[in-house]
């Protein structure tokens, strides 16, 4: 992408900025759309209508809310640590936004073609923890503090099963580059990693059950990393009011919200890349068959967004179905269930990939 733009414009800085603008636009538009989708999904699951007045089925509702948030007075509690308090939402948002740098939306549209994309995503998404801790500590509110402590413990713990599954995928594909992983799963859904990847023979069939388990584990643990129900205990509105962002209001609160929805799509994108073929079409490309090569990247973009949104929908679906866990049970799920399963999964996949 950068290379393409650099060739086109011939200016390094401008090209770099343009590259950055694309994911920013996507994250903002997605957050707006995601919040609307969340509202509509929850409403219809609960036999309600949801927002209906602003635009067709209320699709402008989030825009209206954003307008309201921008106009709100920015209240900072007297006893808050002002510096940290102001940095925290920016840091959280940066963490979730920076992850988009390496996500390949299609074979042409990707911010940076770094070789260690997967590693980068895992690292940068941990930045969120620092932001959350800052938010919780600086607000000088007991609910915020409890929420932040819970969040830190939770996110750090759930990094482990995520990393273990990512490790097994890296072992199988032999690369850390998200683009390369996507390219490997080309041409048919049968080549997706969830179906054992683009290999043939016995090992492919042996891999399928373990791949499904792996996909479930990484889905669960990323769910916890983005603080969604049933793992939304850092926010836990019935216990901690709003957890670490209890004291925030206006656009700073909005940034936490944007970061949350940005994160939701980011982790869905990672799962889509690792297991569901990334931007690859499951049925082949229309552009190839009619001979219009320029159409292919657009189709890829469509498939990528579609896969990501499907996973986001499942996240929402779960949110409106399940109660939330308690903090110790959350740790139990992680350390006693997900990590052993992920570890066994890693070993078995390793053995299978040897034969």
């Amino acid at each position: 992408m950068y290379q393409f733009l650099y060739d086109l414009i011939g200016n390094e800085i401008l090209a770099g900025l343009l590259v950055a603008v694309v994911p920013l636009t996507i994250i903002l538009v997605f957050a707006l759309f995601g919040i609307w989708l969340e509202r509509k999904v929850s409403a219809h699951m609960q036999d309600r209508l949801g927002p209906m007045r602003t635009g067709w089925h209320g699709w402008l509702q989030t825009v209206a809310d954003l307008m309201k948030m921008l106009q709100k007075e920015d209240i900072i509690a007297t006893d808050a640590d002002k510096t940290l308090y102001n940095i925290a939402p920016v840091l959280v948002f940066t963490g979730s936004f920076a992850a988009y740098a390496v996500i390949p939306f299609s074979s042409k549209l990707l911010g940076s073609e770094v070789e260690i994309g997967l590693f980068y995503v895992l690292a940068i998404s941990s930045l969120v923890v620092a932001g959350i801790l800052m938010a919780g500590w600086s607000a000088n509110n007991k609910y915020s503090l409890l929420g932040a402590m819970r969040a830190a413990a939770q996110i750090i713990s759930y990094e482990i099963p995520t990393a273990l599954i990512v490790l097994s995928m890296v072992m199988l594909t032999g690369t850390l580059s998200l683009d390369k992983i996507s390219q490997m799963q080309t041409s048919s859904f049968w080549n997706w990693n969830i179906f054992g990847g683009a290999i043939f023979g016995l090992s492919k069939f042996l891999l399928i059950p373990f791949m499904i388990v792996g996909a479930l584990i990484i889905f669960t643990s990323t769910l916890a990393e983005v603080n969604r129900v049933p793992f939304d205990i850092p926010e836990a509105e019935s216990e901690l009011v709003a957890g670490y962002f209890t004291e925030y209001c206006g656009m700073k609160w909005g940034m936490f919200m944007l970061a949350e929805y940005g994160n939701m799509f980011a982790v869905s994108a990672i799962i889509a890349i690792l297991f569901f073929g990334g931007y690859q079409s499951p049925i082949g490309y229309l552009g190839n068959s009619i001979g219009a090569q320029w159409l292919v990247p657009f189709e890829q973009g469509f498939w990528f967004i579609a896969k990501g949104l499907t996973l986001v929908f499942v996240q929402m679906w779960l949110r409106w179905t399940l109660p939330r866990l308690r903090v110790d049970q959350l740790m139990t799920v992680c350390w006693k269930y997900l990590i052993p399963f992920a570890f066994i999964n890693l070993i078995i996949i390793g053995i299978i990939s040897l034969i």
Partner: protein, 371 residues
């Protein structure tokens, strides 16, 4: 080297999403561990008992509506049976049947809120909406009958304010048919959900002797395994004519007397209430619901304590009459008031999140705690 630690006081409420009103809980916590819970009440104190002393007997009825505002029919029922006992008057059969049907519908409506909010406290918001949808149906039945959805002033001393609507019997039968699948759905979605069980089983265990000593009643006591129900124990109105069971906590997924048992007792009780309604709805005799209402209500001197089984437990009215038009003293034994006392006992050694689950399972209504 030991780190210096100190306990933190967390003020939960009076404004908090899940204290079910304006209840303030003072939690002494160490990390997330609860060392002690002190409830502070009185934020909703409306001087009911003082008001009642200045009202005539029928004028107190609208005030009783506002005690347990989720079960106003039950409050009316308790008050009017107490005053009727004091007056010693006979009530027409038709009135008795209609009262029982209304009280049982109200019990279902109230348990729906209890279950829904208990679920919502634990994080399941969808069952909340499903159950409120069905509660609306019951409220519409009440609205059709007496014109109000929540604060009915429906049962009067010696009778009822309105006869039932001509459509009432048909619509109630429709409701029963429509409602049974909702219970199944609720069980699938929430009751037997693994996460819900994990959150409520073995939490806030209340042994039966503690429960009795603390005066707990209603689903809280029955959840501890004692089949105690005023409807059977001390039958008032015409409850002895109906065939129903008293569900008790059995420790199906945890220990007897835990939050899940209290929750599940409510689920089972809705089914029993449906049974009572089914038995009563076809037998409503003909008659005039106004015939026994005394023109002038002036009870003789005396004291009376009478109790009914409200959805939240044993609701008692202690009335002293000095032979005037207004009561000399009305004391309400509010079930939530007594049940809330258990908070400090139940919460010890649990986590902050469990406080919410325990409070939800006690199912308090601040309207009758603060009176």
């Amino acid at each position: 080297m030991a780190l210096k630690t100190e306990t933190m006081v967390l003020n939960m409420g009076p404004q908090h999403p899940s204290t079910h009103g304006v209840l303030r809980l003072e939690l002494d916590i160490e990390g997330e561990l609860i060392l002690g819970v002190k409830p502070h009440i009185g934020y909703l104190h409306r001087c009911f008992e003082k008001h009642a002393e200045a009202m005539t007997y029928p004028q107190v009825i609208p005030y009783t509506d506002r005690l347990d505002y989720l079960a106003a029919m039950g409050n009316n029922f308790g008050y009017v049976t107490t005053v009727e006992k004091l007056l010693g008057i006979q009530i027409p059969e038709r009135v008795e049947y209609i009262r029982v049907i209304m009280a049982e519908l109200q019990r279902i409506a109230s348990h729906l809120v209890a279950i829904a909010t208990n679920g919502a406290d634990i994080g399941a918001l969808t069952p909340f909406l499903y159950l409120f949808r069905d509660r609306e149906y019951i409220l519409s039945l009440f609205e059709m009958t007496c014109g109000a959805r929540m604060l009915y002033n429906y049962m009067w001393i010696g009778g009822l304010s309105h006869d039932i609507h001509p459509d009432f019997v048909r619509k109630t039968k429709e409701f029963i048919i429509h409602f049974r699948p909702t219970i199944v759905e609720l069980n699938n979605l929430l009751t037997f959900n693994k996460i819900f069980i994990e959150r409520t089983a073995n939490i806030g265990i209340l042994p039966v002797d503690t429960a009795i000593n603390f005066g707990a009643s209603g689903p809280v006591l029955r959840g501890s395994g004692l089949p105690f129900d005023v409807r059977k124990e001390d039958p008032y109105s015409i409850y002895n004519r109906f065939d129903f069971e008293i569900p008790t906590g059995k420790g199906l997924v945890g220990t007897v007397g835990d939050c899940w048992d209290r929750y599940y007792v409510r689920v089972l009780e809705m089914e029993q209430s449906l049974r009572i309604i089914e038995q009563a709805i076809d037998k409503i005799p003909e008659g005039d619901v106004h015939s026994a209402i005394p023109k002038r209500i002036k009870p003789p001197k005396g004291t009376v304590y009478s109790r009914v089984e409200n959805p939240r437990g044993e609701l008692g009215y202690f009335i002293i009459s000095d032979g005037n038009l207004n009561p000399f003293r009305v004391k309400v034994r509010a079930p939530s008031f007594v049940n809330l006392e258990l908070m400090g006992e139940l919460c010890k050694g649990h986590l902050v999140a469990d406080v919410i689950a325990i409070l939800g399972s006690l199912d308090i209504v601040l309207g009758e705690i603060d009176r």
